[in-house]
Symmetry: C2
Subunit: 138 residues, 2 copies
C-alpha cells in the first residue's frame, strides 16, 4: 500500500441508519482534541472518514439508471480507496465531541480528518446527470 | 496504522505552484481508468489526494491572525492524516486524463479518490471566521 493513516475518532449515533437528517456525534480521541480549538467559528465542516464496511475490491463499474458508469462518477461506498466524505452543519462542540447534521455514515465509522468548509468548497449550481439524481447508492 | 490506501493517479502540472487558476491534469493509472466512465457528465468534482510532502507530526495548533487555533479549524497541509481535498471544475476528460481547474496541489501529488460534486456538497453562504480569510496556509 502507498500510504497509511490513523483514526482520529468515530461517528456515534443512536439510530442504525445513515440518515443525513439526524444530529450525530463525532467523537474525537483525546490525543487529537486540542486540534478542534475554535472550529465552532465555522458553520459547516467536511468530515473525511474510512468506509470500513465497504468492499474496495468490487469492479470499477456501477449501474445507475440502467446504465453502466464508472465508480468515480458515483458516490458508491465501494470504491478502490474506501474514503467517504460528508459536508455537515456544525450544531455545537462540547470538548472533544462535535454535534453535526448531514453525515451519511453508520455508527462506529472511523474518522480520518475534519476540515472547515469555506467559499472554495461552495459551487452554486453544480451540473449533475439525471441518473445521479436517482440516488442508487450501491 | 489503522488503514492503508493505494495511489490511483497523480497531479500533472507544468508550473511549480499550487495555484488554483491553472488548468491541471489529473492522470489516472490505466488500472483504474475504467472507473472514470461518464464522469464528464458532472461539472465539478472533489479530488482527494495524499499531501505527500506535508509533515503529519507537527503539533495540533496553528497561528491564524495572531491567534492559536486547532489544526482541524484550518486547511493546513500539516495535519495528523495528510489528506487534502479540492473542489474543481472539470474542463474535459481525455481517456484516463482529467483536465481540471481549482486544485491547489503540487505537480506529482498522488490521488486517492475522485467523487462527483453534487447538491449535498453545496452550502450557499458558509460562515467562516475573519482569521480564516487571511489565508495563512502553514
Amino acid at each position: 500500500m502507498d500510504c497509511c493513516f490513523n483514526y482520529i475518532g468515530f461517528v456515534r449515533r443512536d439510530d442504525n441508519s445513515t440518515s443525513r437528517k439526524s444530529i450525530v456525534k463525532i467523537e474525537i480521541k483525546e490525543t487529537y482534541a486540542e486540534g478542534l480549538k475554535d472550529i465552532e467559528e465555522f458553520s459547516h465542516l467536511i468530515i473525511i472518514y474510512h468506509l470500513h464496511l465497504a468492499d474496495p475490491n468490487k469492479d470499477l463499474k456501477r449501474i445507475r439508471g440502467g446504465v453502466e458508469v464508472g465508480v468515480f462518477a458515483t458516490r458508491s461506498q465501494h470504491r478502490p480507496n474506501s474514503i467517504g466524505i460528508s459536508v455537515v452543519e456544525l450544531i455545537k462542540r462540547e470538548g472533544n465531541v462535535l454535534y453535526v447534521k448531514g453525515i451519511n455514515a453508520f455508527d462506529g465509522t472511523p474518522i480520518l480528518d475534519i476540515k472547515p468548509y469555506d467559499e472554495w468548497d461552495s459551487v452554486p449550481n453544480p451540473k449533475v446527470p439525471e441518473w445521479h439524481k436517482l440516488n442508487e447508492t450501491i
